[in-house]
Symmetry: C2
Subunit: 254 residues, 2 copies
Protein backbone atom coordinates (compact mmCIF):
# COMPACT_ATOMS: atom_id res chain seq x y z
CA UNK A 1 0.00 0.00 0.00
CA UNK A 2 1.29 3.45 -0.82
CA UNK A 3 2.92 5.26 2.01
CA UNK A 4 4.03 2.26 3.97
CA UNK A 5 7.48 1.74 5.27
CA UNK A 6 10.43 1.34 3.01
CA UNK A 7 10.68 -2.20 1.73
CA UNK A 8 14.20 -2.41 3.01
CA UNK A 9 13.77 -0.56 6.23
CA UNK A 10 16.24 -0.34 9.04
CA UNK A 11 19.57 -0.35 7.27
CA UNK A 12 19.76 3.36 6.53
CA UNK A 13 18.74 5.67 3.71
CA UNK A 14 17.17 3.95 0.73
CA UNK A 15 16.40 4.88 -2.86
CA UNK A 16 14.21 3.00 -5.22
CA UNK A 17 14.02 3.66 -8.92
CA UNK A 18 14.27 2.10 -12.34
CA UNK A 19 17.57 2.05 -14.13
CA UNK A 20 16.81 4.16 -17.21
CA UNK A 21 18.87 1.96 -19.53
CA UNK A 22 18.08 -1.46 -18.20
CA UNK A 23 15.00 -3.37 -19.23
CA UNK A 24 13.11 -4.85 -16.31
CA UNK A 25 9.69 -5.91 -15.14
CA UNK A 26 8.71 -2.38 -14.17
CA UNK A 27 9.35 -2.93 -10.49
CA UNK A 28 11.62 -0.44 -8.81
CA UNK A 29 14.58 -1.94 -7.04
CA UNK A 30 16.58 -0.73 -4.10
CA UNK A 31 19.56 0.99 -5.66
CA UNK A 32 21.84 1.54 -2.73
CA UNK A 33 24.19 -1.21 -1.68
CA UNK A 34 24.30 -2.10 1.98
CA UNK A 35 27.65 -0.46 2.35
CA UNK A 36 26.41 2.79 0.83
CA UNK A 37 23.45 2.84 3.15
CA UNK A 38 25.64 2.41 6.17
CA UNK A 39 27.87 5.26 5.11
CA UNK A 40 24.87 7.48 4.55
CA UNK A 41 23.39 6.51 7.88
CA UNK A 42 26.55 7.73 9.52
CA UNK A 43 25.89 11.30 8.44
CA UNK A 44 22.08 11.17 8.61
CA UNK A 45 19.75 12.06 11.42
CA UNK A 46 16.20 10.78 11.67
CA UNK A 47 13.56 13.49 11.75
CA UNK A 48 9.80 13.32 12.27
CA UNK A 49 7.05 15.64 11.10
CA UNK A 50 3.42 15.86 12.06
CA UNK A 51 0.69 15.72 9.50
CA UNK A 52 0.32 19.13 7.90
CA UNK A 53 3.67 20.36 9.13
CA UNK A 54 5.75 22.48 6.78
CA UNK A 55 9.23 20.99 6.56
CA UNK A 56 10.84 23.91 4.83
CA UNK A 57 9.81 26.87 2.74
CA UNK A 58 10.71 27.97 -0.75
CA UNK A 59 13.70 30.25 -0.49
CA UNK A 60 15.09 28.84 2.75
CA UNK A 61 18.78 28.07 2.74
CA UNK A 62 19.15 24.52 1.44
CA UNK A 63 21.50 22.84 3.88
CA UNK A 64 20.06 19.34 3.75
CA UNK A 65 18.49 16.71 1.54
CA UNK A 66 15.80 14.39 2.88
CA UNK A 67 15.08 10.72 2.27
CA UNK A 68 11.64 9.51 3.27
CA UNK A 69 11.35 6.49 5.53
CA UNK A 70 7.57 6.57 5.82
CA UNK A 71 4.68 8.88 5.14
CA UNK A 72 3.67 11.17 2.29
CA UNK A 73 5.27 14.50 1.56
CA UNK A 74 4.44 17.10 -1.06
CA UNK A 75 6.43 19.96 -2.51
CA UNK A 76 4.21 22.91 -3.34
CA UNK A 77 4.28 26.48 -4.59
CA UNK A 78 1.98 29.44 -4.12
CA UNK A 79 0.39 30.77 -7.25
CA UNK A 80 -0.06 34.38 -8.30
CA UNK A 81 -3.55 34.31 -6.80
CA UNK A 82 -2.37 32.76 -3.56
CA UNK A 83 -3.60 29.28 -4.45
CA UNK A 84 -1.22 26.45 -3.67
CA UNK A 85 -0.11 24.07 -6.35
CA UNK A 86 1.23 20.64 -5.47
CA UNK A 87 4.24 19.65 -7.49
CA UNK A 88 4.40 15.98 -6.54
CA UNK A 89 3.56 13.35 -4.01
CA UNK A 90 6.63 11.72 -2.50
CA UNK A 91 6.67 8.42 -0.63
CA UNK A 92 9.06 6.11 1.16
CA UNK A 93 12.50 5.86 -0.52
CA UNK A 94 11.96 9.14 -2.33
CA UNK A 95 14.27 12.12 -2.04
CA UNK A 96 13.41 15.76 -1.58
CA UNK A 97 15.29 18.97 -1.02
CA UNK A 98 15.77 20.22 -4.55
CA UNK A 99 17.67 23.46 -4.55
CA UNK A 100 19.05 26.11 -6.82
CA UNK A 101 21.60 28.68 -5.83
CA UNK A 102 21.69 27.32 -2.31
CA UNK A 103 17.93 27.89 -1.85
CA UNK A 104 15.07 25.42 -1.84
CA UNK A 105 12.95 25.85 -4.91
CA UNK A 106 9.69 24.62 -3.35
CA UNK A 107 8.04 24.58 -0.01
CA UNK A 108 7.44 21.10 1.32
CA UNK A 109 4.88 19.81 3.77
CA UNK A 110 3.92 16.48 5.27
CA UNK A 111 0.40 15.38 4.42
CA UNK A 112 0.65 12.37 6.71
CA UNK A 113 2.93 11.82 9.69
CA UNK A 114 6.39 11.52 8.23
CA UNK A 115 9.67 9.96 9.27
CA UNK A 116 12.71 10.78 7.19
CA UNK A 117 16.46 10.86 7.09
CA UNK A 118 18.01 14.28 7.01
CA UNK A 119 21.29 14.39 5.11
CA UNK A 120 23.33 17.58 5.47
CA UNK A 121 24.58 18.77 2.13
CA UNK A 122 27.96 19.57 3.61
CA UNK A 123 28.44 15.94 4.60
CA UNK A 124 27.41 14.73 1.17
CA UNK A 125 29.71 17.07 -0.63
CA UNK A 126 32.45 16.13 1.75
CA UNK A 127 32.91 12.57 0.69
CA UNK A 128 29.99 10.66 -0.64
CA UNK A 129 29.72 12.62 -3.82
CA UNK A 130 33.12 11.27 -4.76
CA UNK A 131 31.61 7.81 -5.02
CA UNK A 132 30.77 7.10 -8.66
CA UNK A 133 28.56 4.15 -7.86
CA UNK A 134 26.49 6.15 -5.43
CA UNK A 135 26.23 9.08 -7.77
CA UNK A 136 24.99 6.84 -10.54
CA UNK A 137 22.16 5.79 -8.28
CA UNK A 138 21.30 9.40 -7.62
CA UNK A 139 21.22 9.96 -11.36
CA UNK A 140 18.79 7.08 -11.78
CA UNK A 141 16.57 8.51 -9.10
CA UNK A 142 16.65 11.97 -10.64
CA UNK A 143 15.69 10.54 -14.01
CA UNK A 144 12.80 8.82 -12.30
CA UNK A 145 11.65 12.08 -10.73
CA UNK A 146 12.08 13.88 -14.00
CA UNK A 147 9.79 11.43 -15.76
CA UNK A 148 7.32 11.73 -12.94
CA UNK A 149 7.17 15.51 -13.19
CA UNK A 150 6.86 15.31 -16.94
CA UNK A 151 3.90 13.02 -16.56
CA UNK A 152 2.42 15.51 -14.15
CA UNK A 153 2.90 18.35 -16.59
CA UNK A 154 1.29 16.23 -19.27
CA UNK A 155 -1.65 15.60 -16.99
CA UNK A 156 -2.00 19.33 -16.40
CA UNK A 157 -2.03 19.99 -20.12
CA UNK A 158 -5.24 18.01 -20.51
CA UNK A 159 -8.41 20.04 -20.67
CA UNK A 160 -11.12 17.63 -19.60
CA UNK A 161 -11.49 17.12 -15.88
CA UNK A 162 -12.30 13.44 -16.22
CA UNK A 163 -9.14 12.89 -18.23
CA UNK A 164 -7.02 14.58 -15.62
CA UNK A 165 -8.45 12.49 -12.84
CA UNK A 166 -8.12 9.28 -14.81
CA UNK A 167 -4.49 10.08 -15.48
CA UNK A 168 -3.99 10.90 -11.84
CA UNK A 169 -5.43 7.58 -10.76
CA UNK A 170 -3.35 5.83 -13.36
CA UNK A 171 -0.21 7.42 -11.96
CA UNK A 172 -1.09 6.18 -8.50
CA UNK A 173 -1.80 2.75 -9.87
CA UNK A 174 1.48 2.52 -11.76
CA UNK A 175 3.30 3.73 -8.70
CA UNK A 176 1.75 0.97 -6.63
CA UNK A 177 2.77 -1.53 -9.25
CA UNK A 178 6.31 -0.24 -9.44
CA UNK A 179 6.54 -0.47 -5.68
CA UNK A 180 5.34 -4.03 -5.74
CA UNK A 181 2.15 -3.37 -3.85
CA UNK A 182 -1.27 -4.81 -4.40
CA UNK A 183 -2.78 -3.54 -7.65
CA UNK A 184 -6.34 -4.77 -7.23
CA UNK A 185 -7.50 -1.33 -6.20
CA UNK A 186 -6.01 2.12 -6.10
CA UNK A 187 -5.25 3.65 -2.75
CA UNK A 188 -5.60 7.43 -2.60
CA UNK A 189 -3.92 8.59 0.59
CA UNK A 190 -4.54 12.30 0.08
CA UNK A 191 -7.76 14.21 0.55
CA UNK A 192 -9.82 15.85 -2.15
CA UNK A 193 -8.30 19.28 -1.76
CA UNK A 194 -4.81 17.80 -2.11
CA UNK A 195 -5.93 16.07 -5.27
CA UNK A 196 -7.44 19.30 -6.51
CA UNK A 197 -4.20 21.17 -5.98
CA UNK A 198 -2.25 18.45 -7.73
CA UNK A 199 -4.44 18.16 -10.81
CA UNK A 200 -4.91 21.92 -11.05
CA UNK A 201 -8.65 22.09 -10.54
CA UNK A 202 -10.92 23.28 -7.80
CA UNK A 203 -12.20 20.98 -5.11
CA UNK A 204 -15.79 20.95 -6.41
CA UNK A 205 -14.54 20.14 -9.88
CA UNK A 206 -12.64 17.14 -8.55
CA UNK A 207 -15.72 15.97 -6.73
CA UNK A 208 -17.87 16.29 -9.82
CA UNK A 209 -15.36 14.57 -12.04
CA UNK A 210 -15.09 11.63 -9.66
CA UNK A 211 -18.86 11.49 -9.57
CA UNK A 212 -19.01 11.53 -13.36
CA UNK A 213 -16.50 8.69 -13.67
CA UNK A 214 -18.44 6.71 -11.09
CA UNK A 215 -21.74 7.37 -12.85
CA UNK A 216 -20.30 6.18 -16.14
CA UNK A 217 -19.20 2.99 -14.45
CA UNK A 218 -15.53 3.57 -15.08
CA UNK A 219 -14.53 3.47 -11.44
CA UNK A 220 -16.11 2.66 -8.09
CA UNK A 221 -15.27 3.84 -4.59
CA UNK A 222 -15.13 1.30 -1.83
CA UNK A 223 -14.05 3.84 0.76
CA UNK A 224 -12.91 7.40 0.94
CA UNK A 225 -9.52 6.45 -0.34
CA UNK A 226 -10.02 3.18 -2.17
CA UNK A 227 -10.94 3.17 -5.83
CA UNK A 228 -11.37 0.25 -8.18
CA UNK A 229 -11.26 0.45 -11.95
CA UNK A 230 -14.35 -1.26 -13.33
CA UNK A 231 -14.16 -0.42 -17.02
CA UNK A 232 -10.51 -0.80 -17.90
CA UNK A 233 -11.02 0.02 -21.57
CA UNK A 234 -12.76 3.30 -20.85
CA UNK A 235 -10.22 4.08 -18.17
CA UNK A 236 -7.31 3.51 -20.51
CA UNK A 237 -8.92 5.58 -23.21
CA UNK A 238 -9.38 8.48 -20.83
CA UNK A 239 -5.95 8.28 -19.27
CA UNK A 240 -4.60 8.06 -22.79
CA UNK A 241 -1.34 6.25 -22.26
CA UNK A 242 -2.53 3.74 -24.82
CA UNK A 243 -2.16 3.72 -28.58
CA UNK A 244 -4.28 4.72 -31.57
CA UNK A 245 -5.96 8.02 -30.90
CA UNK A 246 -6.28 8.24 -34.66
CA UNK A 247 -9.95 9.18 -34.76
CA UNK A 248 -11.29 11.96 -32.67
CA UNK A 249 -13.71 10.65 -30.09
CA UNK A 250 -17.21 11.81 -31.12
CA UNK A 251 -18.81 14.20 -28.68
CA UNK A 252 -21.69 12.67 -26.79
CA UNK A 253 -24.99 14.51 -27.57
CA UNK A 254 -25.34 16.50 -24.37
Amino acid sequence: MLGTLSATNGSGPAIRALDPWQASDGRMRQLLAEEERVRLAAVATVVRFKKGEVIYREGDVADAVFNIISGVVTPFRKGADGAEHMVAFLLADDLFGLAAERRYTNSVKAITPVVAYRLPVAALRGGLLQDAQFEFHIICKLCQELRQVQRHAFLLSQRRAATRLAMFLRQLEQLEFARGDDTAEIYVPMDRSDVAEYVGMTLPAVSRAFAALTARGVIAFRNRGHVKVLDRAAFDKLSGDDVEPRSRRPRRPH
Copy 2:
Protein backbone atom coordinates in the same frame (compact mmCIF):
# COMPACT_ATOMS: atom_id res chain seq x y z
CA MET B 1 20.28 35.23 -28.02
CA LEU B 2 18.53 31.96 -27.38
CA GLY B 3 19.42 29.16 -29.70
CA THR B 4 22.85 30.39 -30.58
CA LEU B 5 25.93 28.27 -30.44
CA SER B 6 27.29 26.93 -27.23
CA ALA B 7 29.33 29.56 -25.44
CA THR B 8 32.23 27.17 -25.32
CA ASN B 9 31.89 25.65 -28.71
CA GLY B 10 34.38 23.40 -30.40
CA SER B 11 35.93 21.48 -27.57
CA GLY B 12 33.35 18.74 -27.35
CA PRO B 13 30.13 18.11 -25.49
CA ALA B 14 29.14 20.84 -23.06
CA ILE B 15 26.72 21.18 -20.19
CA ARG B 16 25.67 24.38 -18.53
CA ALA B 17 23.74 24.54 -15.28
CA LEU B 18 23.71 26.04 -11.84
CA ASP B 19 25.25 24.15 -8.97
CA PRO B 20 22.24 23.55 -6.72
CA TRP B 21 24.17 24.13 -3.51
CA GLN B 22 26.40 26.98 -4.53
CA ALA B 23 25.27 30.57 -4.44
CA SER B 24 26.10 32.46 -7.60
CA ASP B 25 24.98 35.33 -9.76
CA GLY B 26 22.35 33.26 -11.52
CA ARG B 27 24.47 32.71 -14.60
CA MET B 28 24.93 29.13 -15.67
CA ARG B 29 28.50 28.02 -16.00
CA GLN B 30 30.09 25.38 -18.13
CA LEU B 31 30.32 22.38 -15.86
CA LEU B 32 32.53 20.04 -17.81
CA ALA B 33 36.27 20.37 -17.51
CA GLU B 34 38.27 20.42 -20.71
CA GLU B 35 39.52 16.92 -20.06
CA GLU B 36 36.01 15.58 -19.60
CA ARG B 37 34.87 17.15 -22.81
CA VAL B 38 37.71 15.62 -24.73
CA ARG B 39 36.91 12.19 -23.37
CA LEU B 40 33.26 12.61 -24.28
CA ALA B 41 34.15 13.82 -27.74
CA ALA B 42 36.01 10.58 -28.26
CA VAL B 43 32.82 8.56 -28.05
CA ALA B 44 30.48 11.15 -29.56
CA THR B 45 29.38 11.62 -33.13
CA VAL B 46 27.99 14.88 -34.49
CA VAL B 47 24.49 14.62 -35.92
CA ARG B 48 22.34 17.15 -37.75
CA PHE B 49 18.57 17.44 -38.00
CA LYS B 50 16.40 19.55 -40.24
CA LYS B 51 13.76 21.85 -38.87
CA GLY B 52 10.67 19.81 -38.00
CA GLU B 53 12.51 16.49 -38.11
CA VAL B 54 11.62 13.91 -35.49
CA ILE B 55 14.80 12.73 -33.81
CA TYR B 56 13.30 9.75 -32.04
CA ARG B 57 9.90 8.56 -30.92
CA GLU B 58 8.52 7.66 -27.56
CA GLY B 59 9.05 3.97 -27.02
CA ASP B 60 12.08 3.60 -29.30
CA VAL B 61 15.01 1.74 -27.82
CA ALA B 62 17.11 4.30 -25.99
CA ASP B 63 20.65 3.64 -27.12
CA ALA B 64 21.97 7.18 -27.02
CA VAL B 65 21.86 10.48 -25.20
CA PHE B 66 22.14 13.77 -27.05
CA ASN B 67 23.86 17.03 -26.22
CA ILE B 68 22.77 20.04 -28.21
CA ILE B 69 25.40 22.13 -29.96
CA SER B 70 22.98 24.52 -31.62
CA GLY B 71 19.31 24.85 -32.38
CA VAL B 72 16.10 24.25 -30.47
CA VAL B 73 14.69 20.85 -29.69
CA THR B 74 11.48 19.86 -27.97
CA PRO B 75 10.36 16.66 -26.34
CA PHE B 76 6.63 16.06 -26.81
CA ARG B 77 3.87 13.58 -26.16
CA LYS B 78 0.59 12.86 -27.87
CA GLY B 79 -2.49 13.40 -25.75
CA ALA B 80 -5.55 11.22 -25.47
CA ASP B 81 -7.24 13.35 -28.12
CA GLY B 82 -4.25 13.24 -30.43
CA ALA B 83 -3.07 16.72 -29.57
CA GLU B 84 0.64 17.13 -29.00
CA HIS B 85 1.97 18.53 -25.80
CA MET B 86 5.42 20.03 -25.59
CA VAL B 87 7.32 19.06 -22.51
CA ALA B 88 10.19 21.50 -22.77
CA PHE B 89 12.31 23.65 -25.03
CA LEU B 90 15.94 22.58 -25.06
CA LEU B 91 18.82 24.71 -26.26
CA ALA B 92 22.57 24.55 -26.73
CA ASP B 93 24.36 22.72 -23.90
CA ASP B 94 21.20 20.91 -22.89
CA LEU B 95 20.84 17.15 -22.76
CA PHE B 96 18.03 14.97 -24.02
CA GLY B 97 17.33 11.30 -24.33
CA LEU B 98 15.56 10.57 -21.07
CA ALA B 99 14.66 6.92 -20.85
CA ALA B 100 12.99 4.37 -18.66
CA GLU B 101 13.33 0.66 -19.03
CA ARG B 102 15.56 1.11 -22.04
CA ARG B 103 12.89 3.09 -23.90
CA TYR B 104 12.65 6.79 -24.59
CA THR B 105 9.84 8.36 -22.60
CA ASN B 106 9.11 11.19 -25.04
CA SER B 107 9.27 11.82 -28.71
CA VAL B 108 11.66 14.59 -29.66
CA LYS B 109 11.73 16.89 -32.64
CA ALA B 110 13.84 19.75 -33.88
CA ILE B 111 11.95 23.02 -34.22
CA THR B 112 14.93 24.74 -35.81
CA PRO B 113 17.88 23.19 -37.65
CA VAL B 114 19.83 21.34 -34.99
CA VAL B 115 23.36 20.16 -34.51
CA ALA B 116 24.07 17.84 -31.61
CA TYR B 117 26.45 15.32 -30.18
CA ARG B 118 25.18 11.78 -30.05
CA LEU B 119 26.55 9.81 -27.11
CA PRO B 120 25.93 6.06 -27.16
CA VAL B 121 24.72 4.84 -23.82
CA ALA B 122 26.96 1.81 -24.06
CA ALA B 123 30.02 4.02 -24.25
CA LEU B 124 28.90 6.09 -21.29
CA ARG B 125 28.21 3.10 -19.13
CA GLY B 126 31.49 1.63 -20.16
CA GLY B 127 33.75 4.09 -18.51
CA LEU B 128 32.63 7.63 -18.08
CA LEU B 129 29.99 6.83 -15.56
CA GLN B 130 32.77 5.73 -13.24
CA ASP B 131 33.97 9.29 -13.05
CA ALA B 132 32.57 10.88 -9.91
CA GLN B 133 33.34 14.40 -11.01
CA PHE B 134 31.56 13.94 -14.31
CA GLU B 135 28.60 12.30 -12.67
CA PHE B 136 28.25 15.17 -10.26
CA HIS B 137 27.93 17.49 -13.21
CA ILE B 138 25.21 15.29 -14.66
CA ILE B 139 23.43 15.49 -11.32
CA CYS B 140 23.58 19.28 -11.39
CA LYS B 141 22.17 19.31 -14.89
CA LEU B 142 19.36 16.94 -13.96
CA CYS B 143 18.45 19.12 -10.99
CA GLN B 144 18.31 22.02 -13.37
CA GLU B 145 15.99 20.16 -15.72
CA LEU B 146 13.88 19.04 -12.81
CA ARG B 147 13.36 22.60 -11.69
CA GLN B 148 12.56 23.61 -15.20
CA VAL B 149 9.88 20.97 -15.60
CA GLN B 150 8.43 21.87 -12.22
CA ARG B 151 8.16 25.46 -13.34
CA HIS B 152 6.43 24.27 -16.45
CA ALA B 153 3.97 22.23 -14.44
CA PHE B 154 3.35 25.24 -12.26
CA LEU B 155 2.66 27.32 -15.33
CA LEU B 156 0.18 24.73 -16.55
CA SER B 157 -1.63 24.80 -13.23
CA GLN B 158 -2.56 28.43 -13.77
CA ARG B 159 -6.03 29.07 -15.10
CA ARG B 160 -5.82 32.50 -16.70
CA ALA B 161 -4.38 32.59 -20.18
CA ALA B 162 -2.60 35.88 -19.59
CA THR B 163 -0.91 34.47 -16.51
CA ARG B 164 0.33 31.44 -18.39
CA LEU B 165 1.80 33.53 -21.14
CA ALA B 166 3.40 35.95 -18.75
CA MET B 167 5.00 33.05 -16.92
CA PHE B 168 6.12 31.59 -20.20
CA LEU B 169 7.77 34.83 -21.24
CA ARG B 170 9.33 35.11 -17.83
CA GLN B 171 10.85 31.67 -18.22
CA LEU B 172 12.35 32.65 -21.54
CA GLU B 173 13.66 35.84 -20.04
CA GLN B 174 15.26 34.11 -17.08
CA LEU B 175 16.76 31.57 -19.42
CA GLU B 176 18.31 34.32 -21.48
CA PHE B 177 19.70 35.86 -18.35
CA ALA B 178 21.08 32.58 -17.06
CA ARG B 179 22.75 32.05 -20.41
CA GLY B 180 24.28 35.46 -20.26
CA ASP B 181 22.44 36.81 -23.26
CA ASP B 182 20.99 40.21 -23.78
CA THR B 183 17.99 40.78 -21.54
CA ALA B 184 16.64 43.98 -23.04
CA GLU B 185 13.97 42.09 -24.90
CA ILE B 186 12.71 38.55 -24.95
CA TYR B 187 13.40 36.43 -27.98
CA VAL B 188 10.72 33.86 -28.80
CA PRO B 189 12.24 31.43 -31.28
CA MET B 190 9.18 29.19 -31.58
CA ASP B 191 6.00 29.87 -33.49
CA ARG B 192 2.56 30.43 -31.99
CA SER B 193 1.44 26.86 -32.28
CA ASP B 194 4.56 25.65 -30.48
CA VAL B 195 3.84 28.14 -27.73
CA ALA B 196 0.26 26.94 -27.60
CA GLU B 197 1.32 23.34 -27.20
CA TYR B 198 3.76 24.29 -24.48
CA VAL B 199 1.40 26.41 -22.40
CA GLY B 200 -1.48 24.02 -22.90
CA MET B 201 -3.85 26.30 -24.79
CA THR B 202 -5.09 26.56 -28.32
CA LEU B 203 -3.40 28.68 -30.91
CA PRO B 204 -6.17 31.31 -31.04
CA ALA B 205 -6.13 31.55 -27.26
CA VAL B 206 -2.43 32.31 -27.32
CA SER B 207 -2.98 34.96 -29.93
CA ARG B 208 -5.74 36.58 -27.93
CA ALA B 209 -3.79 36.48 -24.71
CA PHE B 210 -0.79 38.13 -26.35
CA ALA B 211 -3.14 40.71 -27.79
CA ALA B 212 -4.65 41.32 -24.36
CA LEU B 213 -1.25 41.80 -22.75
CA THR B 214 -0.28 44.16 -25.53
CA ALA B 215 -3.53 46.11 -25.20
CA ARG B 216 -2.99 46.51 -21.47
CA GLY B 217 0.45 47.89 -22.17
CA VAL B 218 2.25 45.12 -20.35
CA ILE B 219 4.29 44.01 -23.33
CA ALA B 220 5.01 45.15 -26.86
CA PHE B 221 6.05 43.21 -29.93
CA ARG B 222 8.82 44.55 -32.10
CA ASN B 223 8.74 41.57 -34.43
CA ARG B 224 7.15 38.18 -34.61
CA GLY B 225 9.59 36.85 -32.13
CA HIS B 226 10.77 39.86 -30.18
CA VAL B 227 8.87 41.03 -27.13
CA LYS B 228 9.67 43.77 -24.70
CA VAL B 229 8.24 44.13 -21.23
CA LEU B 230 6.84 47.62 -20.82
CA ASP B 231 5.08 47.42 -17.48
CA ARG B 232 7.38 45.41 -15.29
CA ALA B 233 5.16 45.66 -12.22
CA ALA B 234 2.12 44.31 -13.99
CA PHE B 235 4.24 41.67 -15.66
CA ASP B 236 5.65 40.47 -12.35
CA LYS B 237 2.25 40.42 -10.78
CA LEU B 238 0.90 38.26 -13.56
CA SER B 239 3.84 35.91 -13.70
CA GLY B 240 3.60 35.72 -9.95
CA ASP B 241 7.12 34.82 -9.02
CA ASP B 242 7.09 37.80 -6.72
CA VAL B 243 6.06 38.04 -3.11
CA GLU B 244 2.96 39.07 -1.18
CA PRO B 245 -0.16 37.84 -2.90
CA ARG B 246 -1.77 38.39 0.49
CA SER B 247 -4.92 40.03 -0.74
CA ARG B 248 -6.95 38.51 -3.50
CA ARG B 249 -6.90 40.76 -6.52
CA PRO B 250 -10.36 42.36 -6.75
CA ARG B 251 -12.36 41.26 -9.75
CA ARG B 252 -12.88 44.03 -12.23
CA PRO B 253 -16.61 44.85 -12.59
CA HIS B 254 -17.23 43.38 -15.98
